[in-house]
């Protein structure tokens, strides 16, 4: 039976933990709003870009003259997994769920006899993958110094990927990130970026125009494809950013609630113990008086 002093101490500890988690939840909520705004702001660009690029890609798909970024190397032997996670923990299953998806994919690919390479973005994913796949990690992008993710960050990652692709390091690149559904649900998603894949545009996306291309269709496509990689990475980074904050917010909300419950329970225990002590003292006094 813990003493009154012990109980008091524990209550104080849990109370200060609750303060911290509460503060973290509020910070995450504020950051989430900003992250969502950033994701919203990038949407017009991404949508138009993908519509134009998708249309172009469809037109030249299947032709041998198509750029290598679209057509691929003709092999899928070496697979690069780009695993994007957060730089910080304390956000529930956010990091683990991405890593789990990537691991599954890596295992399937290995089972098919493919070579797997892994590039990590964000510290947490690297830490988790190092244990099982330490020898497969070929690089790491550190974003811990970056406060607001900008297009320039995405471009850097894209350039790194493209340089490796040009050097023949891999045939297929897939990025892993959490798609932001809402505050309580983030969906781990895998998207293949090299060679570029496009969803077939739905009817409404078709503008029906036959475009003139300047300088030429091939050149426009060749300039746009690398940008397409950057755009895909940028939107993945933004989705990831919003998801991270959402996940942290709900994780911290749960933690705050748990701390509250614990405080209630401890307080009851504390009050009972105190009452027991008082009762004991009374019995002692009364029996002492009776003995006289």
């Amino acid at each position: 039976m813990p003493s009154l002093k012990d109980l008091k101490n524990r209550i104080d500890t849990v109370k200060s933990t609750r303060k911290i988690t509460k503060a973290m939840q509020m910070v995450a909520a504020a950051k989430l709003r900003r992250a969502q705004e950033a994701a919203e702001a990038s949407r017009p660009y991404t949508e138009r870009f993908n519509a134009v690029l998708g249309g172009l890609a469809k037109a030249s798909a299947g032709s041998d003259a198509a750029p290598i970024l679209l057509r691929g190397t003709g092999s899928d032997q070496v697979q690069l997994l780009v695993v994007m996670t957060a730089e910080r923990g304390l956000c529930g299953g956010f990091n683990s769920s991405i890593v789990k998806l990537a691991k599954q994919k890596a295992e399937t690919l290995k089972g098919e006899g493919k070579t797997v390479k892994i590039l990590t973005v964000g510290k947490k994913g690297r830490e988790q993958l190092k244990r099982d796949y330490g020898d497969l990690l070929i690089g790491h992008v550190d974003l811990s110094e970056v406060k607001n993710i900008g297009y320039a960050n995405a471009q850097e990652i894209a350039n790194d990927l493209l340089a490796r692709f040009d050097a023949g390091d891999f045939d297929v690149a897939t990025i892993f990130y959490n798609r932001f559904e809402n505050v309580v649900s983030q969906i781990p998603t895998a998207v293949q970026v090299i060679p570029a894949k496009f969803d077939t545009p739905s009817e409404s996306d078709e503008t029906g125009y036959v475009y003139d291309y300047e300088p030429s269709e091939e050149e426009v496509l060749a300039t746009l494809l690398p940008k397409g990689v950057a755009t895909a990475i940028f939107s993945a980074l933004l989705e990831n950013g919003a998801s991270e904050q959402g996940a942290r917010m709900s994780a911290m909300d749960n933690a705050t609630r748990n701390a509250g419950e614990m405080i209630d329970k401890l307080t009851i225990e504390y009050n009972r113990s105190r009452q027991a002590v008082i009762t004991n003292e009374l019995i002692e006094i009364i029996s002492g008086a009776e003995a006289l």
Binding site: T46, Y209, E214
Partner: protein
């Protein structure tokens, strides 16, 4: 008064403007051109330069550093990698543009060298247009 058309200028980070315009001058990779309503559908890549929008409320200028423009008879959309109103461009920003372009040029493969050197020149032109210095 010429017909108006919809004009949008978006960068990955934000939508800069969405307005009615009568004519838009676009710095295409193969040379400047002006898009007006009923222009033939065109997709053109951009070089670093200044997009000038003739709108109902006068003329507005934006600095862009590449990307592409989609012109249709009903409207024009410019998707720029980096874009900002000409008035917001400061010496620091130009220096940053120049540094990025020069770094790209210095790391370039021989077949890309021409194109990237041209970009450095284009940025210098933008700088002088805005009355700023370019260190290239």
């Amino acid at each position: 008064m010429a017909d108006m058309m919809q004009f949008d200028l978006v960068s990955p980070e934000r939508r800069l403007t969405s307005t009615e315009a009568s004519a838009v001058q676009i710095p295409g990779a193969d040379g400047d051109f002006t898009a007006m309503a009923q222009h033939a559908p065109t997709i053109a890549t951009l070089r670093p330069g200044i997009v000038t929008v003739q709108g109902a409320g006068g003329e507005e200028r934006y600095v862009v550093t590449g990307g592409f423009a989609e012109v249709t008879p009903d409207g024009t959309t410019v998707l720029a990698e980096r874009a900002m109103p000409a008035g917001e461009v400061t010496q620091d920003i130009i220096d940053d543009f120049v540094a990025t372009a020069v770094a790209a040029r210095d790391n370039a493969t021989p077949e890309m060298l021409d194109q990237l050197s041209k970009q450095v020149g284009d940025i210098a032109l933008v700088a002088s247009e805005l009355g700023l210095q370019s260190k290239a």
